[in-house]
């Protein structure tokens, strides 16, 4: 308990979460009288990053960076905008659809919101949308990135939980499409109430928009198809996709590698620190103790999943999805599988979707702050405007908890 308190206190002080975790692990080792374990600490930390599955992480981060540099976002937005002309709130719907397409390209909420805020918000303002509504819509669209494959969050979950990443990508399709449908429905309702404008049909050539967007669509489609079809591993498919994008964005390779190094290091170091904490926790038999406590609270898988969701919602409000996932999965997944017979793929989708909500909730909500920073609209105002969208995604989460088939169904069908 004292190690958890040390971890929480250091985190609250603003210490990087990974270092707070290492300190917590060290406190646990010392308090447990296992001082000799401190000598293995560096080796354990290094081993936490030695995982072939983790290679997918830099590959997909680099792919996202290169796709963003290659102008894929602009082309996908132009394609989605084809259906917007003349319809009330049509441009807003186009932004949501463009976000859905972009999620299959970028896999990161922050990257997606940053790109869409630059592309969509000025366009929406020109069409007569209030700036705050445009900012909120862009932020809400970012919720699609962590669920629609390829998703960084699903890759990290796959590595921690030892679940095939291809299975997770397959399972992400159902909930991802459900969220897309919900976001479109909420936008339609909000648009009618707020009186979103109906822009004049655009004169831009549909043919040019489609041909321009084809490579941007074909690369992720071929990549995801190769992964799901079992032709290539996620890492191999990602490498081939990188080579394809390099044809149009070779000059962006070095800056993209630098950005990839920054993101990868932060995530990998966090995973290594969490691995260290899990190692110490296993030494102290913590998972078994937690399992005992939870089993005393609930007997059914449904109650367990409800409790899990409450815990994740609370965690998601103060932590980024990635560290929250890394903290929770090693302790609770064994309980979920062994005591309640919950499918690890279902558990992963529930956890990832739940933590995604935290991206748009104060005080931490990275997506919220990114949208605020990019658009100049106060984060509090965006947080109020995204509430209907969060409600919609919460409904999808509830459906996913009650009906695992939403995630596992498409996977079983395609397998």
């Amino acid at each position: 308990m004292l190690s958890l308190a040390a971890f929480a206190a250091l985190m609250a002080l603003g210490l990087p979460i990974a270092f707070a975790m290492i300190a917590g692990a060290a406190v646990q080792i010392v308090l447990g009288g296992n001082g000799v374990l401190l000598l293995s600490l560096p080796q354990q930390l290094f081993q936490g990053m030695e995982n072939t599955g983790l290679l997918a992480l830099p590959i997909f981060i680099l792919l996202g960076e290169l796709m963003a540099e290659s102008g894929a976002g602009r082309r996908l937005f132009a394609l989605a905008g084809l259906g917007a002309g003349g319809m009330r709130g049509g441009l807003a719907q186009a932004v949501i659809v463009a976000n859905g397409l972009m999620a299959a390209v970028l896999g990161s909420t922050v990257a997606q919101i940053t790109l869409m805020a630059r592309l969509a918000v000025p366009e929406m303002e020109r069409a007569g949308y209030p700036r705050d509504a445009a900012a909120a819509l862009t932020a809400a669209g970012g919720l699609l990135a962590p669920v629609i494959p390829p998703s960084m969050l699903l890759i990290v979950y796959g590595v921690i939980a030892q679940v095939p990443i291809a299975d997770l990508f397959l399972a992400g399709i159902g909930p991802g499409l459900a969220i897309l449908a919900v976001l479109i429905a909420v936008t339609a309702l909000t648009g009618r109430r707020a009186g979103f404008p109906a822009p004049a049909p655009r004169a831009a050539s549909a043919r040019a928009a489609v041909t321009g967007a084809l490579p941007a669509l074909a690369i992720p489609a071929a990549m995801i198809g190769a992964i799901l079809g079992g032709i290539a591993t996620p890492a191999e498919a990602g490498i081939v996709a990188i080579l394809a994008v390099l044809f149009v964005a070779l000059g962006a390779l070095w800056p993209a590698l630098i950005a990839t190094a920054r993101s990868t290091a932060a995530i990998l170091f966090l995973i290594a620190a969490a691995g260290l904490y899990a190692w110490v926790a296993a030494w102290e038999n913590l998972p078994a103790m937690v399992a005992q406590q939870i089993q005393a609270l609930s007997g059914s898988p449904l109650v367990f999943l409800l409790l899990l969701n409450l815990l994740l919602l609370a965690l998601g409000m103060v932590l980024d999805p990635m560290p929250a996932l890394i903290l929770v999965v090693p302790v609770l997944l064994p309980v979920a599988m062994d005591s309640y017979g919950i499918d690890p793929v279902h558990f992963g989708l529930v956890a990832c979707l739940n933590l995604t909500l935290g991206l748009l909730t104060p005080p931490v909500g990275v997506g919220l702050h990114t949208a605020a920073m990019q658009t100049g609209v106060p984060a509090g105002r965006i947080a109020r405007l995204v509430l209907p969208y969060l409600g919609g995604v919460l409904a999808v989460l509830a459906a996913l908890v009650l009906w695992p088939g939403l995630a596992l169904g498409p996977a079983r069908l395609l397998q």
Binding site: L41, P42, L257, R262, F269, L319
Partner: protein
């Protein structure tokens, strides 16, 4: 510390962080090349068994240097909501705490690597025989190299991280 020394430290800090992130990016590029070579040769029916291990080790070393640079640029994931409301002195205290943590880690590294024991024993194998410390004897699976060559990256990375944390704690700026 006098202002000029602080300014020098801040400049050195920024340069070191830039060098670290470039090294991390180059290592990641190397890891990707390894994977590409591995995939290409596998598809040609002549698999290279060492590519995956080298790629993973490059990635791990890249993460170490990138993590050190991340301290300088404040890019590690952290809960900033409460910390932003703390007085400046307390925030610097947190940076000093981070520096202390890194110094402790450096001490763990020193004891684990036992350089004096290695000097006394004369070789990694002799150290393993005498003390049961197999750090220098542990092999990689496919590379034909000892793992220690990759583990050694933890020393400069931790020293760099410690320097970044100390500069942040001192509030040095130029």
């Amino acid at each position: 510390m006098p202002p000029t020394a602080l300014c020098f430290a801040a400049r050195l800090d920024a340069r070191l962080a830039r060098a670290e992130i470039r090294l991390a990016a180059a290592l990641l590029g190397g890891a990707l090349c390894c994977m590409l070579a591995g995939g290409a040769m596998r598809s040609l029916g002549r698999p290279l068994i060492w590519t995956d291990e080298l790629a993973v080790l490059c990635m791990a070393v890249a993460a170490l240097f990138g993590a050190s640079a991340g301290i300088a640029s404040g890019q590690h994931l952290a809960v900033g909501a409460l910390a932003a409301r703390l007085p400046r002195a307390l925030r610097r205290g947190a940076d000093a705490l981070l520096a202390a943590l890194l110094a402790g880690f450096l001490l763990c590294l020193w004891i684990w690597l036992d350089p004096l024991g290695l000097l006394r024993a004369g070789s990694g194998a002799a150290l393993a025989r005498e003390t049961g410390n197999f750090t220098y004897a542990e092999p990689t699976m496919t590379l034909g190299l000892r793992k220690i060559w990759f583990w050694l990256a933890m020393i400069p990375a931790t020293l760099g991280a410690l320097f970044h944390a100390l500069v942040r704690a001192s509030g040095a700026r130029c």
